[in-house]
């Protein structure tokens, strides 16, 4: 009962408009409808300004759609809730709290810290930060900080884990390590993950569904389903094919154009 998470998301005709400082209206997201199965790993990929982050913020409850609705397990999403955890691009750790206190924030906020004390240590251990419990955020490296911000959300046992380019600011090695960690956590916890990324490799490597969005207004351009039972490897032939296909969709791969750069 306690751990019976679901996390089915459905989007119904999401339309989101913003009004900028000059009073101009622009559409960030238009006619976005899809269903996401519980426990799936969905990547949102697309050029800047396609409304990926806006979509994530709406699932988190930080923004509301101009029209349309988002349902989590058939309940309309209204406001923020710990069931929908968001990991931001910047770690955004509270600088006045040490690592342990940062991780415990959600539990303390929900007044369930006492009965879940051990969870905090379990999660800190999970991402290899044991021994850093008493460190303050400014003493951590970027990768460590981002790990803390990840488990700070996980300790809340969310049904949906929203990742807004959480690895964008990390170096290549840390990034690959964290990709493995996220996959491990995803498999263990059967949480629904929605990942916003700019990195096609990351999307192909990690997700089982990739949603390609077009820019201004953000619309679904293509949904690619990947085989669930595939081997996750970074140099699988399928992997390269898929990457090329996505890059073509995003107009980055040069298939016909041969005006190559001479390096």
């Amino acid at each position: 009962m306690v751990d019976e998470r679901k996390g089915a998301l459905s989007f119904r005709n999401i339309h989101k408009e913003f009004i900028d400082n000059d009073g101009n209206k622009f559409v960030a997201l238009d006619d976005f409808s899809m269903d996401i199965q519980p426990g799936s790993f969905v990547s949102l990929i697309g050029p800047s300004g396609c409304g990926k982050s806006t979509l994530l913020r709406m699932i988190a409850g930080l923004d509301t759609p101009t029209s349309g609705e988002i349902l989590l397990d058939n309940d309309k999403i209204e406001g923020t809730n710990h069931e929908r955890g968001l990991v931001f691009q910047q770690a955004n750790l509270f600088p006045w709290l040490n690592v342990r206190e940062n991780v415990a924030t959600g539990l303390i906020a929900r007044k369930v810290y006492k009965e879940n004390k051990d969870e905090v240590d379990k999660y800190i251990k999970l991402v290899g930060l044991s021994g850093f419990e008493k460190s303050y955020p400014h003493q951590l490296s970027g990768g460590m900080a981002q790990r803390v911000s990840l488990v700070r959300v996980l300790v809340n046992k969310p049904k949906v884990l929203l990742l807004d380019e959480p690895l964008g600011a990390l170096d290549a090695f840390t990034r690959m390590n964290m990709q493995e960690e996220i996959l491990k956590i995803w498999k263990e916890q059967k949480v629904t993950v929605i990942l916003v990324t700019h990195d096609v490799d990351e999307a192909v490597y990690m997700s089982d569904t990739i949603v390609i969005l077009s820019s201004r207004p953000g619309r679904i351009q293509e949904v690619i389903k990947l085989r669930q039972d595939r081997t996750r490897s970074r140099n699988y032939p399928d992997f390269v094919d898929l990457r090329t296909r996505i890059l073509e969709k995003l107009n980055f791969a040069s298939t016909e154009d041969t005006t190559g750069y001479v390096i």
Binding site: H82, F94, P95, T105, Y136, N156
Partner: protein, 335 residues
Amino acid sequence: MASNNRETISDIKINKTNKAKTTGIIKGILPAVIIFFAIAEHLLIPNKQVVSTTGVYNKVLMASLILSIAVFIISLINKKFGKAYFYKAPFIAAVFLFLAIWDVVTLKLSLLPLPFFPGPDKVLHVFVSDGAILLKCALYSVRLLLCGYLLGASFGLFTGTLIGWNQRADYWIGPLLRIIGPIPATAWIPIALVAFPTSFLASIFLIALAVWFPVTVMTSTGIHNVQNSYFEVAKTLGGNQKFLVFKVAIPAAMPSIFIGLFMGMGTSFATLIAAEMLGVKAGLGWYINWSQGWAEYNKVYACLIVLALMFSGLIKLLFFVKDKLLGWQKGLIKW
């Protein structure tokens, strides 16, 4: 040839360390030497000011001489203590040099007019003759100051948080704060003395008012400037409004709040002394005023010394609290 060179280099090194050692020792003995000359000057040069000496200054110097020699001997034995003492010693010597010069220009040469500029002996004697009263006055002042300060700071935190967090509160209280706040609390003295049943309560109000303004301003500014992302994180983690205020906004604004608390401490000192000089019949401000009335300027100086010690002690205390609460800033921001 080469070995010769090496020898000279090591010789220079030894010479250098020896030199550092001797300068350290000279620095260490300096206070004792200066104190000795101060005593000689005080005892040997005839007085020009026509006042009776009490011998307190002489006793203090004698005690200091014995102490400085004792400390010097200890610092020769204990290297670590010695290093710290040798560093401070020139300053300590300068303090006694100042006392000696003060003694010369007042008691010995009478270059400064009496009763406004008494010699060190007269001032130090106050601590003997008036010690009990001074202590009582100091306790009175501390009590008044702390009551007013704590009251003003708590109110400041409250209104500052309210204004910083709630737009409607900002609409109604904000202008009041911006227009009435800048009036120095001392300007309210005539009204406060009438409005409150006792001058003690009136003074508490004035000091609280003096603290309230900077604490409110700095608290609300601090909360205004908290990164929005912190609130978003807290919200998505399941924090409610109360959590956002007390666990995010206030801790994040703490560095700014402390600037307000320090500013408030400064204004509270000024207000305390002004209130005591004008209305309250006790405390160090009253003591200064009263001594001046009797033209006993030596008492004024003695009281100033007490004030200096008291206020710097309180500031040190606030720094201590700040370091406890803002320990997380270590390595982040230097104050």
